[in-house]
């Protein structure tokens, strides 16, 4: 026994050393990856004039001045207005995408209708259309509807299943749900509305959570669409508000920028933490990378 234990000991030691090295390596890599975020956090609490000259994470003279300045510095508009605008647009985008994309996905996954494959291929094809191809035709359309400088161009399309990526994601998920469940419900007298609402949706919660999370993050971070469609400062969203802090044509407010950037991350992080488990389930079951 003693001889066997002695023979195993060097192996255990080398295994422990190996694991220690791996962990040290991983922690170091994680630190390097998260350094920009940590630096931004530290910079938010530094006096504005030190922001660009300090590269360490230590804040020698912490201050909340950047938060106060950043919140109030944009002319005639508090940064709170930008947050509220972003929240309204993102919440409606989540609602619209979850509702419309799940309905479209159910139709593609479970209904038989003429040209289904062609329509599905066309829908998938729109994923490959560069956004800039659509920008001007969309603007012409929304301008003719009198929707410019309102939230409508940013919200209404979300209720029309225009996000082909989410439709595709949900189609894939719905196809994984055994058809027997829907057939059993149909034998019990359920129509498509009840099958969708009472069987498919409850089973698709992880995929819907994934749709909701990505809708929120993409909508929250969207810069170009709000820039094009929202022209009054009172309608601006957080990304446009952040851009106003730094401009080549004048003195930039880096302290305010980092303080407000830090605040702008909180809803996204909060959304991720709240839906973390469902999000991971959704990603793992749909094969999303």
């Amino acid at each position: 026994m003693t001889a066997v234990a002695a023979r195993h000991r060097p192996h255990q030691v080398s295994h422990r050393v190996q694991r220690t090295f791996i962990h040290v390596g991983l922690v170091s890599a994680a630190f390097v990856m998260s350094y920009p975020l940590l630096w931004m956090t530290a910079s938010a609490f530094r006096p504005s004039e030190q922001v660009l000259v300090e590269d360490s994470l230590w804040v020698s003279t912490p201050t909340l001045e950047n938060f106060v300045n950043g919140w109030t510095s944009v002319a005639q508009t508090s940064f709170g207005t930008f947050f509220l605008n972003s929240l309204v647009i993102s919440a409606l985008a989540v609602l619209g995408n979850v509702l419309s994309c799940s309905l479209a996905a159910y139709a593609f996954a479970r209904l038989r209708f003429p040209g289904r494959r062609v329509w599905f291929a066309l829908m998938i094809g729109t994923i490959m259309l560069p956004y800039h191809v659509l920008l001007i035709p969309q603007y012409l359309l929304f301008n003719s509807l009198g929707w410019v400088d309102t939230f409508l161009p940013l919200v209404v399309p979300r209720f029309l299943a225009t996000e082909a990526f989410f439709v595709f994601l949900l189609v894939q998920f719905f196809r994984l749900i055994p058809k027997d469940l829907a057939e059993a419900a149909r034998i019990d007298g359920c129509g498509h509305a009840r099958i969708f609402g009472q069987i498919m949706v409850p089973l698709a919660v992880p995929a819907l959570a994934t749709t909701a999370a990505f809708s929120f993050i993409w909508s929250w971070n969207d810069f170009l669409n709000p820039l094009i469609y929202l022209t009054s400062q009172g309608n601006y969203t957080v990304p446009i508000g952040l851009a106003l802090f730094v401009d080549a044509s004048g003195t930039s407010n880096y302290g305010g920028l980092f303080a407000m950037s830090l605040l702008s991350l909180l809803p996204v992080i909060g959304f991720f933490l709240a839906f973390q488990r469902l999000l991971l389930d959704g990603i793992s079951t749909t094969g999303l990378k």
């Binding site: 660009l52 510095s73 944009v74 022209t231 851009a243 106003l244 401009d247 044509s249 407010n253």
Partner: protein, 448 residues
């Protein structure tokens, strides 16, 4: 030299100034205005539309936007029945948004223009010709030097924009630091070759500092070099400079690096793209450089924080040739439904000294002579601003003019920097880099 003489002395350039010398262009404008009727004709004051809100769009950082908004609010206070809608955003955002709005014929009534960007909107018919409004006095530009107004005249004979802020790039010198090192400042009449010669001679006395910041990647300073050689950046449909001029520019700065008078490539690369307040000049690493007049105060703030000296502006090193300046300007869009209010706003903005004192030159130096003189005489205006105004007056007196870039050439700013970086790091020979950049210029001018 008279204004006409100065114009005649300028080298050939593409769209205005040469294709349309002021007097001839004015005649063309009058004929076109007199014939009337066709699209693009300049309206007069008696036929102005005055319906709907006045929408105004401009660009800047939050502080600058706040100042412009304050001026707009004063104008709004004087016109209580007028509905004013403002669209302030960042510089890049402004042009992104404007290009989409123009495609839908939905530009704001008064969009801010800039001398390097405005041609696109003028040539595509998005802006209203203003010379009719100028001639009948609806827009009063009498306070702005004629050559500044005329610099904005398009090759088609029309004036589409009225300058509200002037900016220029010049040399900047840390005179106290040079003095404490016992080095004489370079002669302001030099071209860049003279500055480099000065730097090579001064470098041994400067210790850890470098005499000169390399300008190899700055297209604006290359333009000053081209001007000093009797050339320019653009000609009609080709580069306005010869290959030899560009190769000489690259070799000039390679020589400066080799002699140790400018920082080596690895240090220059570290500082590439940093804000002016953190540039090599601001942190005291170099004692002479070049920058925009509106950036000099940012440099000074950092120098003050570290007790590293003071920055003074000088003329751009054109070897005594007239230098170019840039202009921010107001235009009126073709789709504007309240031209009367738009013209009134432009009048107010360019002539209001109250507005100028609020702006404190954040949107550029006031082009109206009376406003600039009022600022020069005021104790409330910082000395640095007064120095910038005085230098601008000097530039103007020496024949300086607003340089309007042809459409599609804005990307050349970055391409020129990239081209120099390839030369600086030895990846491309000056000769090949010059060929490649000239091709890029020709491509840009061809519209593809």
């Amino acid at each position: 030299m008279s204004y006409a003489g100065r114009v005649a002395a300028r080298p050939s350039r593409p769209r205005r100034r040469y294709a349309a010398a002021p007097v001839a262009a004015l005649a063309v404008g009058l004929v076109v205005a007199a014939c009337g009727g066709d699209e693009g004709d300049a309206p007069g004051g008696d036929e102005l539309s005055a319906e709907g809100p006045l929408t105004i769009a401009w660009y800047g950082s939050d502080a600058r936007n706040a100042a412009v908004q304050e001026v707009v609010d004063i104008f709004g206070g004087q016109n209580p029945d007028l509905v004013i809608e403002t669209q302030p955003t960042t510089f890049d955002g402004h042009w992104d948004r404007l290009s989409v709005q123009a495609s839908a014929n939905n530009l704001p009534c008064v969009p801010a223009m800039q001398s390097r960007y405005q041609t696109r909107y003028e040539d595509r018919g998005s802006l209203m010709p203003l010379e009719g409004l100028i001639e009948d006095g609806t827009i009063d530009v009498s306070g702005i030097p004629e050559e500044v107004v005329e610099s904005n005249r398009n090759a088609d004979g029309h004036i589409y924009s009225i300058p509200y802020g002037i900016w220029y790039e010049g040399a900047v010198l840390n005179l106290p630091a040079l003095e404490s090192a016992g080095v004489e400042a370079p002669d302001a009449g030099n071209d860049w070759s003279g500055y480099v010669d000065w730097a090579i001679a001064a470098q041994p006395d400067l210790g850890d500092s470098f005499a000169l910041a390399s300008q190899g990647g700055s297209i604006t300073q290359f333009q000053m070099w081209a001007l000093s050689q009797g050339e320019d950046l653009f000609a009609d449909d080709a580069a306005g400079f010869s290959k030899e001029t560009l190769v000489a520019w690259y070799e000039l700065w390679l020589g400066a690096i080799e002699s140790g008078a400018t920082p080596p490539p690895e240090i220059a690369a570290e500082f590439a793209g940093v804000p002016t307040s953190e540039s090599m000049m601001a942190v005291g690493l170099t004692l002479v450089s070049a920058t925009g007049d509106n950036n000099a105060s940012d440099m000074q703030i950092t120098l003050d924080q570290n007790g590293l000296g003071a920055v003074s502006m000088a003329l751009a090193p054109t070897g005594g040739k007239p230098q170019v300046v840039g202009a921010n300007s107001w235009a009126i869009s073709e789709n504007c439904t309240n031209v009367a209010a738009a013209a009134e706003f432009i009048n107010f903005f360019i002539s209001s000294s109250e507005g100028a004192f609020i702006l404190q030159t954040q949107t550029g130096l006031p082009p109206a002579t009376a406003v600039a003189e009022e600022m020069l005489a005021s104790a409330d205006v910082a000395d640095s601003i007064k120095e910038r105004i005085a230098l601008y007056n000097e530039i103007l007196a020496a024949g300086g003019y607003v340089d309007i870039w042809p459409d599609g050439t804005q990307a050349l700013v970055g391409q020129f920097t990239t081209s120099w970086e390839e030369v600086m790091f030895g990846q491309t020979a000056p000769d090949a880099a010059a060929d490649a950049f000239i091709t890029q210029v020709e491509t840009a001018l061809s519209g593809f």
